[in-house]
Symmetry: D2
């Protein structure tokens, strides 16, 4: 069944039908389509277009259809062009010609935009929860490791000592920004297209403000032409997903590195690692690689929708049918990855001794320079002197902390004892300004993070 | 000059230097770098690392350098690796070794992230203003055309009559969402990296909250590792730009269409059209085509940065140097396009008679169906009957409004006079619910739009 | 069942299993996996690792499994991690422990890369055929319309007359380039990974050249590390698909335009158009809009894989599992769209009179200028004079061909009769150089196109 | 000066002019524009539209202009809209009204497409050379290291021993594919648009085949409408660049890893490493990070052009002006990166002992399993037994090669001496099939690579 055809002589060519049909993916909007139709029926009743009895019959019919979807008993007919058609066809089977009144004053253009926004509005809290799950895991681990020292890296070269808690939390905050972006997006999604008709508005006295409220939207869309063609919320959802995917790719990259034999900072639990069909000894961080790899498809989904939207000439164009699959795919992807990463982190073994060993004395070169600064040497000069010390140590093949007094004197450093400078814990403790890696600053950061996690932006 | 090198034997290879140098683009951060350095010098003084006199000398030196940049007299040295190096080098020329104290406790990692965020924070209001400029033009035109009728399109097929004002405003709201997104972005940009050092935080007692305030930021970044590697704000800026570009591509597509000989709704002013080197008669909408085309590079800039960020392993990696050029380019692009589009719209000639002529009677087919609905025919049936009427008219080769009584009766429609249904103004006036195209609803929409325009989200 | 696990204590977490499992999509490689395994078994036999009897047993088992896949009777087990595991598991059920010999000297890394390349090698001819189908349609239509005149456009402004055949053929050649690109890609795809093991090569005396020949590849991959991680062929396939999608988007855009009421050059058959659920009169070019829209997802698939590949550190990484779904999707998309577009073009009605009417006299302005050139006026001057004539006609509100002698004289053009210049057929016939729109040149173009179509690049 | 305007009343608005002007980037086409014009002038002479004397004057004028560009003395005028206008304007200054004959029968549409293709045709050999430079470096290093052992990785976990030569060559072949793709692209680029006019062809008897030959093209474009709008060559160039960028990102990722303290396989020369402004000890692989990062902008350039091309409605649209900057940028980027990476590789220090140490005995686990296979144990069983041995060794905390006879017997392995299995050189030598890592196979691979390098595909 199609919802049109009066003026047509011939049926759609079968291959064309297959290209045109959206049911393979828009069936995921079944609950939203029925819910939206229920609210629309009530609005028609309030506008005097359905009698109370008619409304009741339609509402019961829709309820029964909702139950069929819930129970998995709904049967699609071969000719159902899309979910809207399927629902109206089934309503007709239940309520007869009366079903033909439901589409009064609305179009599939405003209907599908409404269904789709409803789906996104329902997906957002689920995604927020999944993000919080990974944040919680990071936070729990951080609390356990405020005093665990590890090398911090820039350019993947050992740079300065940091605490493991601080490193873990450096992955908490990007997820927090993801949550904030999704909360901002919610506002732009909760704008109701229903009642905008095909493009010009509805010709019947529908109270769109009441309708918006009934469907959990903040307000009705202010312009009907825009309303049926606005897919900003979908593009923004895909951007938020892609950027979240990028964040997960960075966490995953670090996890892949830190579980190598060479770094050896973490070891994955057997429940979150896989083996090789050829090499019996292998224990691979596949799950992190997949998370990293999937940042590709997430980025591609965003690009794809932007290309689809580019240059569309008018209110509603059928190109917009390409909007749903990417959003469904992105949401599914993140909801699959996030709990797995959380599980893998929660169950991994941390090797603090491997981290500690990796903090060689050159990581305190900056501390040495800053020690000189505290004695009044301008930093740029102190930096140069320390650089020469690093070079001297490299040439002697000894650690920076093993240069002898003569070496230091050669550099003009007359100090009796520089050794305390090379204590990584002392180095870390000096970074006590807000946001620094000192254990005390990290404890404050954890408190701050807990508040954010509890509240979210939306509360 | 480089800010490093103590431990190095050899100079950078010249080709490598060219690849590494960021001065060709980061010189645009000159004002921000000097401004950030001034605030940092004050913070060092407050932390006891500079005496009041030293601070004074550095502050004066930086002020003089700022004046050099302003006046275009600053001379870069061949060896200046980046803008930070150039400024510190020049400060050294002015204040001697004292300049070497300025870099105490900071790194180029937190410094460049700060400069860059400052640049974006300054670019946002300028972009908002440019967006408002185009919105104002649309609004002014809309006010002049609340009663001008035109065909509304879906699938680029004539669908239903709308008012020109309503169509114009359908391009106002996407820009409004762009502005809201940029306002949301501002919050995530105004988080200060300075005081995060290379990655671990600063080893000196810097009051980062005061520093944030001094530099116009909302708060200090909560985690130093994240702070030096977070480029979410840049990615989000590029997304906002790309989506805005997509909006402009859609407006432009319509303008290209509506200025064709075939549509003929608008005619561009000579000041906003170009000709052909070969064909003397041509008057081309190049500016709209360029705006449409540039949605490509804007989308590419977004994709590019996401790819760059993907899979970065640790705090700061040099890959991040690729962050600035796309943001500069995107901001420049939009600031170039927006006023031109506004000018072209403001100066074009509208041809209401061409629009009116294009409203052929079939555009009121829905009105006919809805007329039957008001008589009690279920919409689905009314839709079918009307479809048959359309077909009958097509077969007779007459307008839908020219079917004779016998034709109507053949369809079971016994009505004496259906002609009023074919009045486009009546059609439009029926769409009076919020967001509809009825003149009264459009006037309310205009009031709403004016409030939004005046206030923006940020106020 | 997994093909590993000897060293593992615990089973994979169920959510992790779901993320890791590739069976939902790599089951499409069933035929290739069985075929590749058969060739591998023969290679093992030739290398002395399987006896003739063992080989026979394995070959029969695999044949039976192939039949199960063909007949749709193959049953996947819950624990089948991927298609390779499923096949080996099933082989074990049929042949017992002997099945455990099949994986000798190979890894899933070289196996999956081989399967995937085989799939692409089989997809290429099917895609070529679909492209040829659309090309044929364009060519047939062109042959019928070598004398049908229409306005040619630049900047979507009427520019010069062309023949419809020439316009149709302008969409033939991009598809020809698509075919050439795919033919070039074939060479880079037909490089065999099998025999490269996990990354280091195989430890057994396999004749990889013979193996390549047996499997229809041109040659064995020259470097085992590269072979297991090279996904260039997939990226190149996605690029070819995306660019083809862009070509189809351009054709579709024109079709959407030319079937509007305003242009009215073509009318779609009812079998290739759809209606509206609200507006009974609508006849929409949905199929072209969908084709145009799908250029978005095709471009996104390309972007996605490039992001996935970016920065991968070593030979095989699990990220590469993300390679298959985009290639499958792109191939499916094009094979769905191409025949539908061909059908829609084949069945549409052409309205030559609408096209002819749209050739207003200004389209011959260039002919006028070139007429002057033939009289010795430098083109630049002729262009200027003609421009003034266009302006004069516009001011008088008459056609360019209706300027009177006085008007021409005012422009310094004393000619008795300029009217022949305004004949569009004469205009078209002058464009007789190779590639021009003159009917004679178009006939040669058609001959050329037929040769290309018949031969393809690959023949 | 513009090349149009006769019909226009007003000048272009200054902001619109700035948006429209392409001179800031198309000035790079100066040499091509002059060269193309010289060939066009000759074609006009041959077609009888210029006398020999006129041709001579124009040719001399153009030659002088070429010399001005070469010598850097060409002065652009404020009103030069693009490079074509600038050249024609300057020619007018030199030859008077005669210059106005040069544009006879051509349009900027075919002209710019020709110039741009000429630019690409000239850029391709330069890019090929740069690719060969990096390939040579890899090959030279490989020749020096056919016997240097290192751990091979999959999933970044140590997998099996390989030779350093083999690893180096795994980065040679992707570059070879890049070169082949560029060679294929050349054919599609060497198709001449000149003589296609604005869109319909040229109205004068130009011998386009001769023109193609004169300009170094293979053939004239077969369809004028396609010719002025075909930017496939640009998109394909950008794809080749992006994929090459991805290859470099993978090489760079490995280089960043292998120069860490943790891996320590390579050490960069001081001439190809940079330091830190804060941390005196740092030696950073910035150049590889930049190369990795730039794969982002290269991918973005590709995406950008595809978006620009998407949905363009007709022959030439001004959107196409956005085609050049991305191609210039991509070519510049690769020509900057490639020699630097080659230099960095050529000058780095290799630490064979660090590599050798990293080959711990578990990397020979597969060799152990294959040893059992040679004794008749089915591989799947051998894999399981070896997995248990790995686990036993892990539980005992000893190397896999340090299990005692009792351990082996517990696993049912009664063998007297398994130690030879743990020799990495023996492991490597077994991979002697084509493409394997055995030194002998690698020597053959090197010979093969040398032939490819010498010949390229194009020779």
């Amino acid at each position: 069944m199609t919802l049109w055809g009066g003026r047509f002589d011939a049926k759609l060519d079968p291959a064309a039908w297959a290209l045109n049909a959206s049911l393979p993916f828009d069936r995921r909007l079944a609950a939203q389509d029925v819910g939206g139709s229920q609210a629309w029926a009530a609005a028609l009743r309030d506008a005097g277009l359905l009698s109370a009895a008619e409304y009741q019959q339609i509402a019961s019919g829709l309820e029964a259809i909702a139950a069929e979807f819930d129970g998995g008993t709904f049967v699609f007919a071969e000719g159902d062009e899309d979910i809207h058609t399927a629902v109206e066809r089934r309503l007709g089977e239940r309520t007869g010609a009366l079903a033909g009144k439901l589409h009064t004053g609305r179009s599939r253009n405003d209907q599908v935009a409404t269904d789709f926004r409803m789906w996104v509005l329902e997906a957002l809290p689920a995604l927020d929860e999944a993000l919080c799950g990974l944040q919680s895991t990071l936070l729990d681990l951080a609390e356990a490791h405020t005093a665990t020292l590890m090398p911090g890296y820039t350019h993947l070269q050992r740079a300065q000592p940091v605490t493991l808690a601080h490193w873990l939390l450096s992955h908490f905050w990007p997820l927090q920004r993801d949550r904030e972006r999704l909360a901002d997006l919610r506002q732009r999604t909760a704008v109701l297209p229903l009642g905008c008709g095909a493009l010009a508005g509805t010709a019947f006295p529908i109270d769109r403000t009441a309708l918006a409220e009934a469907l959990g939207f903040d307000e009705p869309a202010p312009n009907s032409i825009d309303a049926v063609s606005d897919r900003d919320f979908a593009a923004e959802f895909l951007f938020c997903s892609a950027l979240c995917g990028i964040h997960l790719s960075r966490l995953s990259e670090s996890m892949v590195l830190f579980t190598t034999a060479e770094f050896g900072f973490f070891e994955l639990s057997d429940a979150y690692a896989t083996g090789s069909s050829l090499m019996p000894q292998k224990k691979n961080p596949d799950l992190f690689e997949l998370a990293r790899g999937k940042s590709g498809s997430l980025t591609g989904l965003l690009t794809g929708l932007l290309v689809t939207l580019k240059g569309l000439p008018s209110s509603y164009d059928k190109d917009l049918q390409e909007d749903k699959l990417p959003v469904f795919t992105a949401a599914d992807t993140l909801r699959t990855i996030l709990p797995v990463l959380a599980g893998a982190l929660r169950t991994m073994t941390v090797h603090p001794e491997r981290m500690r060993t990796a903090i060689d004395p050159t990581l305190m070169a900056t501390d040495l320079a800053e020690h000189l600064v505290r004695k009044g040497v301008p930093f740029r000069e102190a930096h140069g002197l320390t650089g020469q010390a690093v070079r001297a140590a490299a040439e002697k093949g000894c650690g920076l902390d093993q240069l002898c007094q003569a070496d230091w004197q050669a550099l003009g450093l007359l100090e009796a004892d520089l050794l305390p400078v090379f204590d990584p814990l002392a180095s870390v403790e000096k970074k006590s300004a807000i946001g620094g890696t000192a254990p005390q600053a990290v404890l404050e950061q954890i408190q701050n993070a807990k508040i954010k996690l509890r509240k979210g932006k939306g509360e």
